[in-house]
């Protein structure tokens, strides 16, 4: 036995060393990947390497800053002028975009839309890579001491970079999205197709799980879908660079990363984000406010006609949609009122002089397709949606409907106020545009 071991001494040692490593590997694999049993060893290794890296990166940045801030100032004046022009252009664009955004927020608030908001980020500097040519991961100079935790998304201004894989006291290992073991839930901006973005051996990005019968065009923007519960929804991930038929009915879609993953220097670690309901600016927005802003305003008219004392209003039909709320009730020769005949339904209103209605309030719209009901202080109950407080226009004079799925035909409910029959129709109602 001894002679055999002596003869094959080298081979025996090789097998022994390999066996020990396989055993160690098996233990790591068998245990939960969440439990970091090799953490201490990794901390030692990283702590041994990263201080030197920090010094070199800082020296490198210092040299670059010196060069760029003091020696490389040719053409700065021209560049400054160009940038100012660019700023002016961007301001104009910003005005337009901010209006769009405000509108989107208002509409989202109506739908109780929940959005993910990045609340806090920590800037970090890339100080090195993993040291492996098969893995795409980088070290950043921020760790648990600065509040970094595992699985936090890492982004740049250009787009998403990856997620924090391991956290050490003063450094963290970031797994980039082009690593083969990485997967990001994404969607295509225009077609809204969803898929999984994976890295390849060459460090490229491939969008998987998109059926071959779908239309995907190169140049389309790829955004994070938020489905992976790591990256916030809507962050730019990249653009489709190449589309070709793939295997098993799926398309082979190559994606060019939005962030320059091979030249990362500074990144942002998203340390805090919040899922919150969208709130339109300026407090709670009502449907009437939104519609009032969208509609052409009606000029104010002096309140000339006094309401007939004791005039009664018919009960508003629940399904009726605001349609010529006050004045549509045209007085008939016989003294009875005629219901409004708006396209979106109407409310029966007793023959009553068109009255300058004070700002009305929209009662909460019920969910069963009932139209909002305007509570007018001086008229009791009326209907209509154009009673926006902010518009300041007489609600009785405008014809508006809220698209709530109300029936086309107004409910034929005759108004039967006894008192109105004896009241002659005031002339002022003739001035009413409706």
């Amino acid at each position: 036995m001894e002679s055999v071991l002596g003869r094959y001494r080298n081979l025996t040692i090789l097998v022994g060393v390999l066996f020990l490593q396989v055993l160690g590997l098996a233990v790591q694999v068998k245990r939960s990947p969440d439990a970091e049993h090799t953490r201490l060893i990794r901390i030692w290794a990283v702590d041994a390497i990263t201080p030197l890296e920090r010094v070199i990166v800082r020296a490198q940045n210092g040299t670059n800053d010196l060069w760029h801030n003091y020696f490389f100032l040719r053409g700065v004046r021209a560049e400054n002028r160009q940038l100012k022009e660019q700023i002016e252009q961007m301001r104009l664009q910003q005005v337009r975009l901010s209006e769009d955004a405000a509108q989107a927020h208002r509409l989202q608030s109506l739908l109780a839309f929940e959005e993910q908001v990045v609340m806090k980020t920590i800037p970090a500097q890339v100080i090195g890579s993993s040291g492996s040519d098969l893995s795409r991961s980088v070290y950043i100079d921020k760790g648990s001491n600065q509040g970094i935790a595992a699985d936090m998304p890492v982004i740049t201004v250009g787009g998403i970079v990856g997620k924090v894989l391991r956290v050490y006291p003063s450094t963290s290992l970031v797994l980039m999205i082009n690593d083969q073991s990485s997967g990001v839930g994404v969607l295509l901006e225009k077609s809204r197709l969803q898929g999984v973005l994976r890295g390849t051996a060459d460090g490229e990005l491939v969008l998987e799980r998109v059926m071959s019968d779908e239309q995907v065009t190169p140049g389309e923007t790829v955004l994070s879908s938020g489905g992976d519960q790591i990256f916030p929804k809507g962050f730019p991930v990249g653009t489709v660079s190449h589309v070709s038929p793939g295997k098993e009915l799926f398309l082979n879609i190559k994606v060019r990363a939005a962030a320059d993953l091979s030249r990362l220097e500074e990144v942002l670690v998203v340390t805090e984000r919040q899922e919150r309901e969208v709130e339109a600016s300026g407090g709670k927005t009502r449907a009437a406010d939104i519609l009032a802003q969208r509609l052409p305003s009606v000029p104010d008219k002096p309140a000339t006609i006094a309401a007939t004392p004791g005039a009664a209003l018919s009960k508003p039909v629940p399904d009726a949609v605001a349609q010529s709320a006050g004045a549509s009730a045209k007085p008939q020769p016989n003294g009875t009122s005629k219901p409004g005949t708006g396209t979106g339904g109407g409310t029966k209103l007793a023959a009553r002089p068109a009255t300058k209605v004070s700002p009305a309030r929209l009662a909460p719209a019920s969910t069963n397709n009932e139209s909002p009901v305007v509570q007018s202080p001086d008229l009791g109950v009326s209907s209509g949606a154009n009673a926006a407080e902010s518009s300041g226009s007489a609600t009785s004079a405008s014809s508006t409907s809220i698209p709530t799925g109300t029936p086309e035909k107004p409910a034929p409910l005759p108004a039967k106020p006894s008192t109105t029959q004896s009241t002659p129709p005031p002339a002022a109602t003739e001035d009413n545009p409706h």
């Binding site: 060393v17 590997l25 390497i49 040291g131 391991r166």
Partner: protein, 170 residues
């Protein structure tokens, strides 16, 4: 230390000072981590250092331990479980030192081919372990593998030439 002869030519066994033995692998690991990925991602400097030391010492036991140490250190800095690179570089260290004990691998052409071959062996072992044991979803690309092997071979020729200066005859 036994001396092996090949084609009548004496194959010498070398040793290295302690600073070189420790410093060169650490420097290779450091550079591997520090150098910009965009340019140097296909190079595996720790592998080249493993091959060099193993071939120069011509001792399989020394070679496999050198490979194991460098590989495990590389694992500690990477995202994968510790041992994948360790196993791959142990095999390479053993193979390179066994080959160095039997063949003359001092000239540039032989070094290029040996480096290319061991790069492929290294990748084969790495992928086998990564897929078979750790269940990592890594894809092998022949084009990239051969290109990286050749690139490592060329860099290896230059690196070995530099490291030859630190050789000490036993």
């Amino acid at each position: 230390m036994p001396i092996t002869y090949t084609s009548g030519e004496q194959i010498e066994v070398y040793r290295f000072s302690l600073p070189v033995t420790v410093g060169v692998p650490l420097l290779a690991l450091f550079l591997q981590v520090f150098l910009p990925r965009r340019i140097f991602s296909i190079f595996d400097l720790p592998l080249l250092v493993t091959i060099f030391f193993a071939m120069a010492r011509r001792n399989p036991v020394s070679g496999l331990f050198t490979g194991a140490a460098i590989g495990l250190a590389q694992d500690m800095l990477g995202p994968y479980p510790i041992g994948i690179y360790g196993i791959a570089k142990t095999v390479v260290g053993y193979g390179a030192s066994s080959l160095g004990a039997k063949l003359d691998v001092e000239n540039a052409g032989a070094r290029l081919l040996v480096t290319l071959g061991f790069y492929l062996v290294h990748q084969a072992v790495f992928f086998t372990v990564a897929r078979g044991m750790v269940n990592l979803t890594l894809n092998w690309s022949w084009g990239r593998g051969l290109l990286a092997g050749l690139a490592n071979g060329v860099v290896g020729m230059v690196l070995y030439f530099v490291l030859d200066k630190f050789k000490q005859r036993t």
